[in-house]
Symmetry: C3
Subunit: 109 residues, 3 copies
Amino acid sequence: MKLIIAVVQDEDSPRLISRLMKSGYGVTKLATTGGFLRAGNTTLLIGVDDGKLKDAMDIIENVCKCRKQVATAPTPMAGSTGMYVPYPVEVTVGGATVFVVDVEEFRKI
Amino acid sequence: MKLIIAVVQDEDSPRLISRLMKSGYGVTKLATTGGFLRAGNTTLLIGVDDGKLKDAMDIIENVCKCRKQVATAPTPMAGSTGMYVPYPVEVTVGGATVFVVDVEEFRKI
Amino acid sequence: MKLIIAVVQDEDSPRLISRLMKSGYGVTKLATTGGFLRAGNTTLLIGVDDGKLKDAMDIIENVCKCRKQVATAPTPMAGSTGMYVPYPVEVTVGGATVFVVDVEEFRKI
Ligand SMILES: Nc1ncnc2c1ncn2[C@@H]1O[C@@H]2COP(=O)(O)O[C@H]3[C@@H](O)[C@H](n4cnc5c(N)ncnc54)O[C@@H]3COP(=O)(O)O[C@H]2[C@H]1O
Ligand SMILES: Nc1ncnc2c1ncn2[C@@H]1O[C@@H]2COP(=O)(O)O[C@H]3[C@@H](O)[C@H](n4cnc5c(N)ncnc54)O[C@@H]3COP(=O)(O)O[C@H]2[C@H]1O
Ligand SMILES: Nc1ncnc2c1ncn2[C@@H]1O[C@@H]2COP(=O)(O)O[C@H]3[C@@H](O)[C@H](n4cnc5c(N)ncnc54)O[C@@H]3COP(=O)(O)O[C@H]2[C@H]1O
């Protein structure tokens, strides 16, 4: 048995959990905070049989892969009118930091 | 040293922590959420000396073992009176999901 | 790669995180509760390369080492006036409980 400890963005967590549930994996969710941005993120504990590790990692990679999204950034209009125009900006979202540790003993009580 | 990571029901957590404290174990509590039921549960981190692992696992098993409880489920009265009668129903509570990982280095600063 | 799981006092956590950030370490913060005092504390997950383990542990030791602080304890004035005088008391603060586990696989997605 292996324990996957995956730190993911809050935005990706619901989709990732339901994909893992559909494949019959067990998941426990922790609300956490990033050390650098001090913003909220999500850490998932996922205990998997050794033979299922690759499949679970593929699901995490598939859902959390970095991708470009168009967001709008308020940009001041020309001249000092104090008005803002929504301006399309491309940002990168997604990503996951994943640790796998060995489980010496697993028990369902 | 081993680190026990035990996911237990919120209902069992206070009794389990006080049983572990009485036996002199160290415990850190995390408020977590189940992936499937999306309901709150409790994850305990319990660092134990190798020789104490079996005793700590026995305490978890003893407090968290599945048991039947009688709960009342509101059941509509015969006829469509809109009245509800409390009706005894047997439910299973308890249970724990427990991972044990090896601790390479332990330090009290 | 090693995963450091460090349980520290809430008071030391901001300083510890910013010292770790300055040295380029990755940190994820969990809000946790002590089993004995039932008071809030902080658990940090810090994934480090094998060669950096000693340096990261030194930073934790440096920031969280136990130290004496003067706190004021309200002490009743002589006679039963119901008045309280702030009285200097020496208390010990700091400390950290640190577990290091081996990481079999690390992935940045
Ligand atoms: N080795 C490790 N151990 C434990 N947890 C880890 C970790 N590496 C990453 N994490 C967790 O994953 C989150 C995202 O990290 P990522 O590397 O994609 O994205 C990071 C990275 O690009 C950058 N960053 C993080 N730490 C940095 C540092 N010390 N110096 C410069 N940039 C940093 O800021 C982004 C957000 O970081 P934040 O700390 O808010 O949030 C982090 C942290 O919660
Ligand atoms: N391999 C694992 N890795 C990490 N954490 C684990 C885990 N196995 C269990 N857990 C944790 O333990 C809680 C209780 O699990 P249990 O198996 O007793 O009871 C479970 C199980 O009977 C069922 N269940 C869970 N996941 C399922 C799935 N993918 N498909 C069908 N049934 C599921 O729903 C109950 C509640 O699950 P919930 O997720 O809310 O809450 C779970 C989850 O927080
Ligand atoms: N083996 C272990 N596994 C997991 N987490 C661990 C641990 N040892 C310590 N911790 C965590 O570190 C915190 C500080 O522990 P420390 O040993 O410095 O300071 C402890 C210790 O001096 C004392 N204490 C803890 N458990 C005790 C027990 N069963 N009997 C007597 N004294 C206890 O009370 C202080 C506060 O304890 P509290 O539980 O509130 O908070 C603990 C707990 O959250």
